[in-house]
């Protein structure tokens, strides 16, 4: 009994000691920007550095992109959960619309000029920033150099038309469905793949004042037909209709297909899962209207309904994460994403062949309109894109299918915009 009392006394002293030291603990939540274990280890290492500097404890929690729409709202509405969070650039205005994110004065983070414009724009809702740009990403064409060589293809495709020609050579050598992998109905991010095609065909998502859908234009229809055509021509496997993006990535990383449109984070996946894969990257092929790229990435947001102490701690942590040396380490050595601060690009790493391609594509990349309703709009488009693919699988796809569903999506989007 005596022993127990002594033990309890020691324990309570430790607890009291910790509390009275005024140590703040905050939670950081991010998505899988790198293979989970490496990501966790990196965050823990930096959290230890940060604690040594500030005395603040940071606990890291990784969630999947699919969970973003459930976990973040839960945290900001209940006031319980992560203090600093990663949000996708396309979702930042949406979460800002809830009123649960801290308003950000960019002066505290080095001023607006310090950041890449596309990322900065994505933090804003009605002129106010609700996030700090963290990293940027864009998708380019990855190709398997060995499969290209075996099929006698010397240069990677520069246009979407060339991609079909190259693809036909590849399937002659390697068999049907081996030229490229594309995402299908299981991909929540299906729209990103088609958006690149839409823009390079000269189309737009919405009009300039965001009041009307324009994606059902001729360019949109042509882009959709091209996408389905990749499967129909046998360049992509019919199984792609059921793929999500990780399945696309896996098909390329395993060496099953010769091409895939993927992001910079996949470089880390290749290094981790199949380091011997012979591959290179090239800018997204050009369409009739030139080249286009998707501007994505992530910002760091701070939950507003927390104690002042926690909010300040979270702000310090975000400042810490966006410091050049930390950000460069995170993007260069861990995630292969592109930093969202301009000064980080001075690092020679971004002059390597692969990163130069990403940097160049990012230069002309287009971002989705920053709207609170964007999540809903995106879903309406994805839903109808799913319908096109489903009709294809069912054998009901014809000349008019793409137009029919894009019109339907446009009608639904117009309703969302004008409600």
């Amino acid at each position: 009994m005596k022993k127990l009392i002594t033990l309890l006394t020691i324990l309570s002293l430790i607890i009291v000691g910790t509390v009275s030291a005024g140590a703040v603990t905050i939670e950081m939540q991010a998505m899988g920007n790198a293979p989970a274990q490496l990501h966790q280890a990196w965050m823990e290492e930096k959290a230890a550095e940060f604690k040594a500097e500030t005395g603040i404890t940071v606990e890291f929690n990784q969630i999947s992109w699919g969970e973003e729409m459930q976990r973040i709202p839960l945290a900001i509405t209940t006031g319980d959960g992560a203090n600093a969070m990663q949000v996708g650039t396309t979702q930042n205005p949406f979460f800002a619309g809830t009123g649960g994110l801290l308003k950000i004065d960019m002066i505290d983070f080095g001023g607006e000029d310090a950041f890449m414009p596309a990322n900065l724009k994505s933090t804003k809702l009605d002129g106010t920033s609700y996030g700090v740009p963290w990293f940027a990403e864009t998708r380019v064409l990855f190709y398997n150099t060995e499969m290209f060589a075996e099929a006698g293809v010397e240069n990677p495709p520069q246009t979407w038309e060339e991609l079909v020609e190259v693809g036909e050579k590849i399937i002659e050598t390697h068999g049907e469905g081996t030229a490229i992998a594309v995402a299908g109905t299981s991909a929540w991010d299906l729209i990103h793949n088609w958006a690149i095609l839409l823009w390079s065909h000269g189309g737009e998502m919405l009009n300039a004042d965001n009041t009307e859908a324009l994606f059902n234009s001729e360019a949109g229809v042509a882009a959709m037909k091209y996408y389905v055509g990749l499967v129909d021509k046998g360049l992509a496997s019919r199984a792609c209709a059921e793929y999500n993006q990780p399945q696309v990535d896996a098909a390329f990383i395993n060496g099953d297909v010769a091409m895939a449109v993927m992001g910079p984070w996949n470089i880390a996946d290749i290094r981790d899962e199949n380091p011997d894969l012979p591959y290179a990257v090239v800018e997204p092929p050009a369409g009739p209207a030139g080249r286009a790229a998707f501007s994505g990435g992530s910002n760091l947001v701070i939950r507003a309904n927390a104690s002042e102490e926690e909010v300040n701690a979270a702000k310090q942590w975000v400042q810490f994460l966006t410091k050049d040396e930390i950000l460069i380490d995170y993007t260069k050595n861990l995630t292969n994403m592109l930093p969202a601060t301009k000064s980080a690009f001075d690092d020679p790493y971004y002059e390597t062949e692969t990163m130069k391609v990403f940097k160049k594509a990012l230069g002309y990349a287009t971002a989705y309109p920053p709207l609170v309703e964007w999540a809903e709009i995106e879903q309406a488009i994805v839903r109808n894109f799913n319908n096109v693919l489903t009709d294809y699988v069912n054998g009901d796809y014809d000349e008019n299918t793409a137009k029919k569903y894009l019109d339907q999506a446009a009608e639904q989007v117009n309703k969302i915009l004008n409600d």
Binding site: G66, M69, Q70, P73, I76, T77, F94, G97, T98, G99, G100, G177, G184, T185, S186, W188, S237, R238, A239, A241, E242, N244, N305, V372, A375, E376, Q379, A380, V382, R383, N386, N387, L389, T390, D391, V393, N394, Q412, K415
Partner: protein
């Protein structure tokens, strides 16, 4: 403390838990269904405007995305329920009848049949997703090696997707049916069969007049549980077909989840849930009514 007092005292914790876990959220759900609770007012939910029946009207106004999507999902789940409940019941019944016979290894078999039932949903349905995968799934491989198909079939998209999920759900559901029916079968006194035999009843007649009447009460419970479980089906569709299974296999639970949590239209989501609840009540009501009349006669 009187006997009754003690009884109340003992069930109090359970009642309190029920109140907080079920009753209050349900009442709150009903309240929300009359509010325009959305992305812009979720933080100050107290100030969400009262919109009377507007959220409910959307479910009954033809031509809207909600009307089309929701009723399509209800039709899909009804189809799914009919297939899984009926097939699951007959498979379970067949296995129960077999296991009721005396043979060596019967006890082990009784344990083994529970495996699908005790496998966690996510694990089991992930496996089924792999089985049905078009390019690398073993189902297509098997069908091809048997010469039944030439090209890979796509199971998880379009018309076939609902059936793929139904097959997986039947596999997961029949063991419980078998177990419960087996328990009922073992209650039947052997004398009844002997008497029936003496009266010259054949095997079918013995099943119809002796076995089945004993299985009726448990069948009634099983079917009502299955109707409720199947109408609320979520895991198998979410795991096998993703959050957005497409129009051939969309189901109410996923449709409502997307509406409420991905679009942040909590008011609409709550109204849809309540409409679903009413539909289920109607189904169970009809079922109980039909069953009651039959058993009386």
């Amino acid at each position: 403390m009187s006997k009754k007092g003690l009884a109340y005292f003992l069930i109090l914790p359970a009642l309190l838990a029920l109140l907080f876990v079920h009753v209050i959220p349900m009442i709150w759900g009903i309240v929300i269904s009359f509010l325009d609770l959305n992305v812009r007012n979720i933080i100050n939910w107290q100030s969400a405007p009262f919109v009377k029946l507007q959220n409910y009207m959307l479910v009954f106004k033809p031509g809207t995305v909600i009307f089309t999507g929701f009723w399509r999902s209800v039709i899909n789940i009804t189809k799914f329920g009919l297939i899984t409940i009926i097939s699951g019941y007959f498979i379970g019944l067949g296995v129960a009848l077999l296991l009721n016979k005396d043979f060596p290894g019967r006890t082990i078999m009784r344990g083994l049949i529970l495996l699908p039932f005790v496998t966690p949903d996510t694990v089991a349905f992930s496996f089924w997703r792999f089985i049905f995968r078009s390019r690398i799934g073993i189902l297509n491989d098997m069908l091809k090696s048997l010469g039944i198909i030439q090209d890979n079939i796509i199971w998880l998209v379009g018309d076939r997707s609902l059936y793929a999920v139904a097959i997986a759900s039947i596999w997961k559901g029949w063991p419980l049916v078998a177990l419960m029916l087996l328990a009922a079968l073992q209650q039947i006194p052997q004398q009844l069969y002997d008497a029936a035999k003496i009266d010259g009843a054949n095997a079918w007649q013995r099943f119809k007049y002796v076995t089945f009447p004993y299985l009726k009460p448990v069948t009634k419970t099983l079917i009502i549980f299955n109707i409720l479980w199947n109408f609320n089906a979520f895991n198998q569709f979410r795991v096998m077909l993703s959050e957005n299974p497409g129009r051939q296999a969309d189901i109410p639970a996923l449709f409502i989840m997307r509406q409420a949590f991905n679009h942040f239209k909590y008011g609409q989501g709550a109204a849809l849930s309540i409409v679903l609840l009413l539909i289920m009540l109607v189904f169970t009501g009809i079922y109980f009514y039909v069953f009651r009349v039959k058993s009386d006669s």
